[in-house]
Structure formats: C-alpha cells, structure tokens
C-alpha cells in the first residue's frame, strides 16, 4: 500500500487533468496592453551599443557584444536541420522592448500591477506568499526581468538568483569569469546573434556545498509585437552544490512570426549536480501554420568537475519551428549527462531537436531518452550526437529514441550520429516507431473514455519515463499541455 500511496498524488493529479482539460485553445495567447519602450527595428552596431547603454553595461561587456556582432555578420543561417525555415529579415525585428516603469515615487522593487496581473493570468503569481512555497521565480517580459522572488531568502545561503542585468551590475567578476565559456559567441549563427543583442535572462550561482532548498524558475514571456526575445541564462554550481532549475515560456497569438534565440550556459563543478527542466510552450501558430514563434536555442552544460552531473529534461510542445539541442560536455572524470525529452508537434509545426553528449572525461556516462510525438501535418526530427574523445577511457552511453505517429500526414525522423574514438567505450542505441492503434482507442472508448481523453492517456503513458523526471508541479502542467497540444489530432 505504501508503494501506491507514494504514487497516489501523481496519479491523482493525472486524472484531475484529464477531467479538467476541455478546451483546445492556446490559453496564453492574450496580449497585455502596457506602455512599452521599444527601440526602432533593425540590427547594426549602433543598436548593439544602444542596448548596452540602456542596460548601463561596463565596457568589457559592450566589447563582447560588438565582437559577437562583427562575427555574426560573417555568418549564414544554418540550413542543415530537417526544417523548412522561411527567410528571416533581421532588420524587421526590434531587438529591445521593455515594459516602461510607471512614473511616481514608487520604490524600485514595486512591480507594475498590470505586470503582476499578466503573470497571474499565466499562473505565475509574483507575490511571494502566493507562490508555491518550494519555488523561486525570475519573471522576464520581452527584454527585461520584471521581478525575481525569494532573492533575500536564498541570499542567506549564499545563493545568487537574479536577472542577468543585475548580475552584471552586482557580480561582474562572476559573470566575466563564466560568460561565453561554454557557448562561445563563435559557436553558431544564433549564438552569435544572441551574444550581440541579448537583453536579460537569469543568473544562478550556487556556492560550494550548498543544496538549493527550492526550485529555481525563470518564466519567459514575449508580449510586444514586432520584437524578438534574446535572453541568456547562466548557471554555475560550485563543488558539491545542487540545484533544480525550471524554465517556462509563452507568447501571444499573432499572425506574425516572432524570433526567440536564447543561450543557456551551465557549469557544473566537482560532485555538483544541476537538473534543468524546460516546459516550452511558445505560441505554435494556427492550424494552417500562420504565425508562431521561431525557437532557435543553444543550450549547453559543461560538467567540468569530477563526478559532476547535469540532467536536461524538456517537454517541447510549442513554437512553429524548434531548433534546439541541449548538450553536455562531460569533461570531468566519472561525470554524468542525461537528456530526457518529449517533443510534440501538431498541425504545421516543425521540430528538429535532440542532444549532444561529448565525452572527454574518463568513465563519463550519458543517457538519452527521446520521445517524439507527431500529429497533423507536422515534422518531428530527433538529432543527436554521441562523441567519445580518444583519451576518454571507459565511457558509456545509452540512447533510446522513440517516435509515435498520430495520423498519416505527419513525419518522424531520426538522425543519430555516433563518433567514438576510443575502443573501450560502450555505446548503445535503441529506436522504435509506433502508432496509436484504433484497437487501443476503442478499448478506452468501451470503458467510457472518449477519444480525445484516450489519446491524452496513451500519449502520457508513452511519455511517462520523461514526465516522471519533471518536478511535480510542472509534471502536472506538462501532462495537461501534451493533451491540449494534441486535441483535434485524431479524427
């Protein structure tokens, strides 16, 4: 009985979700009418200088931006992904948009009630007493961080959790030490773009031996039209530290395509552990593929310390186009990298996502579990690289790559690359492709479960291995999301 009651809560919530979800609308599609400071569209050196100036940045950071911008100008957009990406006019985008602070003798910490309302509507209350007690949030709207909760409480333990801009101001040495060390501005086209124009994001530093007592979370919201969002997240876990971090994102429903090009850098020192979970729910466009966010993201962690561990968990349901490969560089001896992914595409969505596990440390281990779900006319690709360096003895990788198809107009593709330069490595790859059968649906129907709920149940069952890796509060949200994303996909 004890076994069951452990699971009970999760099961309980599971079922409530299935009962609750009745609408297939993207419920985050609203726009907040708020006075916003938007710089003119276009990208050039002056714009880069303007962003840096608006943020009051030190000289070294402006230099970093300018170098990145010069390098970006020499690059072409990558075309190797299994994606059909329309031409993007980088001069038709505004690179900085910030909700304007209301005039008046208010304290700096006070957040505009309209912004509070916006985040309330998104289910992210920023008043600390209303938050899940086990979670601290950094809320980012368009180009700036609106508020970070629980900062003081965390500071007592020496934990730094703040917006990237504050980190530049208050902890310049830490930022300077780590910025661009895992993802260089020369890494790729979108990384160079982000390095030139990034506006805000979150910064986390967990000191030696500290286990962060709550989930840290950043919630990204695009609001202004005609803009892109370019945030940076930097997480450093010092020796023996632990942190679980979650990122969520939504955007209004618009006919235009909006660009999101982010960078996440993570550094994990000796015996430290970082768990990074994403529930990505950017607006995906309508059923004919009009509108939606283009999501081009570079996420990478460096397991520099011996016996360090980095675990990526992602639930990707949104965006018109997703191009994203959260990766681990396993440099420390015995370091561990994990990647658990559920990527759902419906209607005209396209996703090319996966991971890279780069084994350079001896006896490093990695696990990849990827669950793709395609419906409608969507295309869903898994792309992964497992690389073992010549000196890295005793490495192990296990990859499991499953695809589930709903209907007959969608596509599932798998591109696994394996590059092993050391013959003591053990690398395993398993892959399956399956469809939800009519027999399964009818079986559920016969027991009284309508088709849409049945699909939700079956899909959540298929994705369970990954869903179980999410922190509980988000597991619930993510399960609901899977079901909503697939509504109307079975006819």
């Amino acid at each position: 009985m004890a076994e069951i009651s452990d699971k009970k809560n999760k099961e309980d919530l599971n079922n409530d979700i299935i009962g609750d979800v009745t609408s297939s609308e993207y419920k985050y599609g609203f726009v907040t009418d708020i006075d916003t400071d938007i710089i003119p569209k276009g990208l050039n050196e002056d714009v880069v200088r303007l962003i840096s100036q608006k943020k009051g940045e030190p000289e070294w950071l402006l230099d970093f931006r300018l170098k990145a911008y010069q390098y970006w100008k020499t690059l072409e957009m990558p075309r190797w992904a299994h994606l059909d990406i329309p031409e993007i006019d980088y001069d038709a985008i505004s690179y900085y948009a910030a909700p304007r602070k209301k005039e008046g003798p208010k304290s700096l910490d006070e957040v505009d009630p309209q912004l509070l309302e916006t985040f309330n509507k998104l289910g992210i209350p920023l008043e600390e007493q209303k938050l899940f007690s086990g979670m601290a949030v950094d809320a980012v709207m368009d180009s700036v961080s609106v508020k970070t909760t629980h900062k003081e409480k965390l500071a007592e333990m020496g934990i730094v959790f703040c917006s990237f801009s504050e980190a530049v101001r208050d902890y310049p040495d830490l930022v300077k030490k780590y910025l661009g060390k895992v993802v260089s501005y020369r890494d790729n086209f979108f990384a160079a773009l982000n390095s030139a124009v990034f506006s805000d994001g979150s910064f986390v530093y967990i000191p030696k031996g500290v286990r962060c007592p709550m989930e840290l979370s950043t919630y990204f919201r695009i609001n202004a039209s005609g803009t892109g969002q370019f945030e940076r997240t930097l997480i450093v876990a010092d020796d023996d530290a632990y942190v679980s971090y979650l990122e969520g994102c939504t955007a209004p429903m618009r006919d235009e395509n909006q660009l999101h090009a982010a960078i996440v850098e993570i550094i994990v020192e000796d015996r430290a552990e970082v768990k990074y979970s994403t529930v990505q729910n950017w607006y995906a466009g309508d059923k004919d593929g009009k509108g939606g966010v283009y999501n081009f993201v570079t996420k990478r962690g460096l397991c520099r310390g011996d016996y360090s561990k980095l675990s990526w968990t992602q639930v990707e349901t949104g965006s018109a186009i997703t191009w994203k490969y959260p990766s681990c560089v396993l440099a420390g001896e015995g370091s561990v990298g994990e990647f658990y992914s559920v990527a759902v595409t419906n209607n005209r969505q396209q996703a090319d996502t996966g991971t890279k596990m780069i084994h350079t440390g001896r006896n490093s281990r990695s696990t990849i579990v990827s669950k793709g779900i395609s419906a409608g006319h969507s295309q869903n690709a898994y792309r992964g690289l497992v690389k073992v360096a010549p000196d890295a003895d005793g490495c192990r990788n296990y990859t499991q790559c499953d695809s589930l198809l709903l209907g007959s107009n969608c596509g599932a593709h798998t591109f696994p690359y394996v590059d092993v330069l050391n013959d003591t490595a053990v690398v395993e790859h398993e892959a399956t492709t399956s469809k939800i059968s009519e027999d399964q649906i009818f079986y559920c129907n016969q027991r009284g479960i309508p088709t849409e709920e049945a699909v939700g149940l079956i899909v959540n069952g298929y994705a369970k291995e990954v869903m179980n890796k999410l922190p509980m509060e988000f597991a619930v949200e993510a399960q609901k999301l899977l079901q909503v994303t697939l509504e109307g996909s079975v006819g």
Partner: protein, 255 residues
C-alpha cells in the same frame, strides 16, 4: 413478465461491404444469462463489436433498444456509461498507462456522464481493493500498465476486474474462456457469478460447453451465417458438445 433490458431487432451489419450479421433478433431480460454459440465465422464476435459500437463495422439495418435508450445512436463511450460492458477476446496493451490511472479515468468519465463528482483518490483506491478480490487480482498487477506483459489468464481476469469496477447492466463476454487453463477459468467464471444480480444480465460468447459448466446459461442461442438459427435451454449446449455443429449447418443449408 420482467422489463426488457436489451432488445435487438433485425440487426444487419457489414465490414468493408461484406455482410456479417444478417438479421439478428435477441431479447434479454434482467437477471438472465444468454450463451451465444456457433461455428467459427458465424458472426459471434461481430455481434459483440457492433453492440459495443466498434467503428470498424457498419450497421445497415435494424434497431437495438437498451433499457429504453436507442443504443445504435450512442457513441461507444456513452454505451459504456449507459451500462454496456464488453470483455474483449484480445484485450489490448496500453504501455505506460497504469491500471490505476486507466480505471480512474474510466470511472470518473462515467460519473461525469451522470453529473456525479469524481471519486477522491482514497475512495477510488478502496474500491479498487474491494473489486480486485472478486477475481483474485493481486496488487502488483493493478499497478502495472494496462495489460502490458500480462499472461492470457491475467488479461481475462483483468477484464472481469474492470467489469466489477464499472458495474454494468449488460456484460458481453467475448470468448473469455479462450486461452485459459482450468484454474484461471474457474477464477474468471467465479468472478462473473459473484457479479450476477437480479438486475444485470450477461451474454456469454463461446465455442465450448466447458465455460457453461461454470456460468449457467438460461438460454443458449446458435449463431450461423449471421442469424440466430436455434434457441434453447442449457440442454442445447450439451447437445452441441456431443454432436458438433454439422447437423445444424446441414439443416439450415438444406432449407
């Protein structure tokens, strides 16, 4: 004369244009057990699928009244909510979906249909525990994924367990005895008998007399070429066991 629970009138159904049921007539009252027997390919499983609303089959003619409700107009899930249960000949596996979760979804959908509030987790688990005992289904099985890796006997026990949970007014057992050894057969049949009341009814579809030793039928029907060609009491099943189906086939084919 008791009320009628199920009345099938002149039911015709086909699959991909091929007619399988060619005018079925059947009347079932509460408290009754009906056995439907017949040679392979006579339409027994089609009848159960059509009654349950499997979209693979198309009904071309006829009516089915289920305690005053026009059964054929209902979706499969509403037929279930109205009290029709089908124990599948080949229960499907649903990987990753625990039995607990699956049954809870099923129960709560039914409750929703009747505007009843969902069961709390503790109420539900208590009910699961009680009903598991009917077919001696152990706890481990109930927490595993739906039918995944179950033996043939476990799958059938699991079907009867679900029947116990949903408390249907009419249960159709489609060749529940196939693939069962004698011990499993006894447990499954015992479960069905325990669930029998004066208000519900059961249709037992089977090839063999064997199951009917355990589940005593009030009526035995012989289905052949899509029609019920003979109806009798339990003695008809014994006669079939002894003489086979050939004599009936000949009689019908000569007509």
């Amino acid at each position: 004369m008791k009320d009628i629970l199920l009345e099938v009138k002149n039911l015709h159904a086909n699959i991909n244009g091929k007619e399988i049921l060619k005018g079925i007539n059947l009347t079932i009252r509460p408290g009754e057990v009906h056995a439907i027997m017949g040679p392979n390919g006579s339409g027994k499983s089609t009848l159960s699928s059509v009654l349950a609303g499997n979209p693979t089959f198309t009904v071309t003619e006829g009516e089915v009244d289920f305690h005053g409700v026009d059964l054929l107009s209902l979706s499969p899930e509403d037929r279930s909510h109205e009290g029709l249960f089908l124990s599948f000949q080949y229960p499907v596996e649903i990987p990753g979906v625990s039995m607990v979760n699956f049954m809870r979804a099923a129960m709560n959908e039914k409750r929703k249909h009747f505007d009843q509030p969902a069961l709390s987790a503790s109420e539900f688990l208590k009910l699961m525990r009680q009903k598991r005992e009917v077919v001696e289904l152990d706890n481990k099985l109930a927490s595993r994924s739906v039918n995944e890796g179950f033996s043939g006997g476990e799958k059938k026990r699991n079907e009867i367990f679900q029947m116990a949970m949903l408390e249907p007014r009419l249960s159709i057992l489609d060749e529940t005895d196939s693939g069962l050894d004698i011990d499993a057969l006894r447990v499954v049949a015992g479960g069905v008998n325990k669930l029998k009341t004066a208000d519900n009814a059961t249709i037992v579809i089977t090839h063999y007399q064997r199951l009917l030793d355990y589940i005593k039928p009030d009526f035995v029907h012989v289905l052949y070429k899509g029609r019920i060609v003979r109806t009798g009491g339990p003695e008809l099943a014994l006669e079939l066991e002894e003489k086979g189906y050939d004599w009936i086939k000949q009689e019908i084919d000569n007509q």
